[in-house]
Amino acid sequence: MKPNREELRRQVVSLVADALDRDATEVSPHDSLIDDLGAESIDFLDLQFRIESAFGLKFRDEELWRGSFDPNDRRWVVDGRLTPEAVERVRQRQPDYPWHRFAQGVTVADLPRLLTVDTMVEQLESKLTAAEAPKTT
């Protein structure tokens, strides 16, 4: 049976702490993996592997890191910057994120900085829910 959100969060915090050489008490669910926890590109590979191993599933491509919208969709991104609607959409998903970091707006290049423990938990929860759903023919 799929663990509840809090249990998932606790487990992901533990995996993030191990991968980024931190004590679990230093990792907050709203911390930016990059800005607050010092994750680098190689750590994202490691994190995905740890989560897949721990929960016995496989993520396709960028599935674990997927955001609230497709950055290639011109409805959400203009000249490399998120539209106000896109920013609002992300803010609704991550109300506890320290948005003052993006006082000048959010560019596509900034998107990885928005990844947090909770964004991973959300994707993981969706994946586990889908895995539990009965298959229809």
Binding site: A19, L20, D21, G38, I42, D43, L45, D46, F49, R50, K58
Partner: protein, 382 residues
């Protein structure tokens, strides 16, 4: 210096002087190999970026520890302009992390993993941490030492079997002698206590019937500097390398190759065998080429007319692998450090010139020799 009997030269020397032997344990299913490990080693102490530890295996951690200590001991911890520092490390590259591969392959038959590329790729790519390759790339020892020390000059990892550490010292010495660089971080590291190493040694027919081979982990790293640079900054000098040579017995006799390496290193130093006050042989109980080395040294040291008056009766032997364990590519630099200490002690007037020879011999008959001198010899050179 990171060894089974301590983490600095004074401690190791003291414990060896007291007759201590590294604690070792038997290896299941074989009587030909025992293993000695380094207890209470905490890699985190030596990494300025601890997150990098997950990208390192044990030998790389030992190498970083030895390198950080060497730089501090050399009084260079505060020298921050390191763009010209060379890094030359040696490791046997034999400690393949087979447990993780075996786990990734699961319970499949080895034949299927070999014959079915798709199956192999799925298992390995799907069940092996993508960082595994970064941990196991052969050049990671030198790379991580360079990263942790911010040593940004040429960076090399030599993987010439058991001789690689001594080879690293020799190659760094040649680079300095040629004026390519004036500082090099050089030495060797190994942690060959995984099933792959143990299995290879345990099944080596040359060890059958011999006393158990004491396999160990360890690392020793030196800061090599040109004489001019070291003296300009008032460095505390431990000794000098005067000659280096290597030879191999790929198709010939090991006795001959070892003899050639030793003779050529002495010739490069401009010394004759009779001037050797101390000698660090490669061999140890159960070393596959121990007898060949004995023969080679007998030839090297046999009386000749030339220089006969300088020939000592028998150079002091620095032979501690039977007590520290054989740390493969790290053993040569460990021996070299202990040899230099012995030579340093021979500084009193009237003693024989403090010159020594360090040898390393690999499993296929690769041979490396370093001609080194203690500080009193350097006084003569000034």
């Amino acid at each position: 210096m990171v060894t089974t009997l301590g983490m600095d030269r004074a401690e190791v020397r003291g414990r060896l002087a007291r007759g201590e032997v590294a604690a070792s344990r038997a290896v299941p299913a074989t009587s030909t190999v025992r293993v000695a490990t380094i207890d209470r080693f905490e890699a985190r102490t030596f990494f300025r970026q601890p997150k990098a530890i997950k990208l390192t295996d044990r030998k790389t951690q030992l190498a970083v520890a030895a390198a950080v200590r060497a730089v501090a001991d050399a009084g260079l911890a505060e020298e921050h302009d390191r763009d010209e520092w060379a890094t030359v490390l040696g490791c046997s590259a034999s400690d393949l992390q087979v447990e993780e591969l075996a786990h990734a392959l699961g319970d499949s038959t080895p034949r299927r993993a070999i014959a079915d590329l798709g199956f192999f790729a799925d298992r390995v790519l799907g069940h092996l941490n993508p960082l595994w390759l970064l941990v196991n790339l052969p050049n990671m020892v030198g790379a991580h030492v360079g990263i942790q020390l911010a040593s940004n000059g040429p960076n090399h990892t030599l993987t010439g079997d058991w001789v690689a550490g001594t080879q690293a010292l020799g190659e760094a010495y040649l680079a300095l002698s040629a004026g390519e660089r004036d500082v090099a971080i050089a030495g060797g590291a190994d942690a060959p206590l995984d099933p792959f190493d143990l299995g290879c040694l345990a099944s080596d027919p040359r060890l059958a019937g011999a006393p158990p081979f004491l396999l160990a982990e360890g690392a020793t790293v030196f800061v090599l500097e040109t004489r001019e640079r070291a003296r300009r900054r008032g460095a505390r000098e431990l000794g000098e390398i005067h000659g280096y040579s290597s030879a191999a017995a790929m198709t010939g006799e090991a006795d001959d190759a070892i003899h050639r390496a030793a003779k050529d290193a002495l010739a490069a130093a401009g010394w004759c065998a009779g001037q050797i006050a101390a000698l660090a042989p490669a061999g140890c109980p159960a070393h596959p080429f121990e007898r060949a080395e004995r023969n080679a040294l007998r030839t090297l040291l046999q009386p000749t007319n030339e220089g006969a008056d300088l020939r000592p009766a028998d150079p002091e032997r620095i032979e501690f692998k039977g007590r520290l364990g054989h740390a493969l590519a790290a053993s040569g630099p460990i021996d070299a450090a202990l040899l230099l200490d012995t030579l340093t002690e021979r500084t009193a007037p009237g003693h024989r010139p403090a010159r020594g020879l360090a040898l390393a011999v690999g499993t296929l008959g690769q041979c490396v020799a370093l001609a080194v001198a203690g500080p009193d010899d350097m006084e003569e050179a000034r």
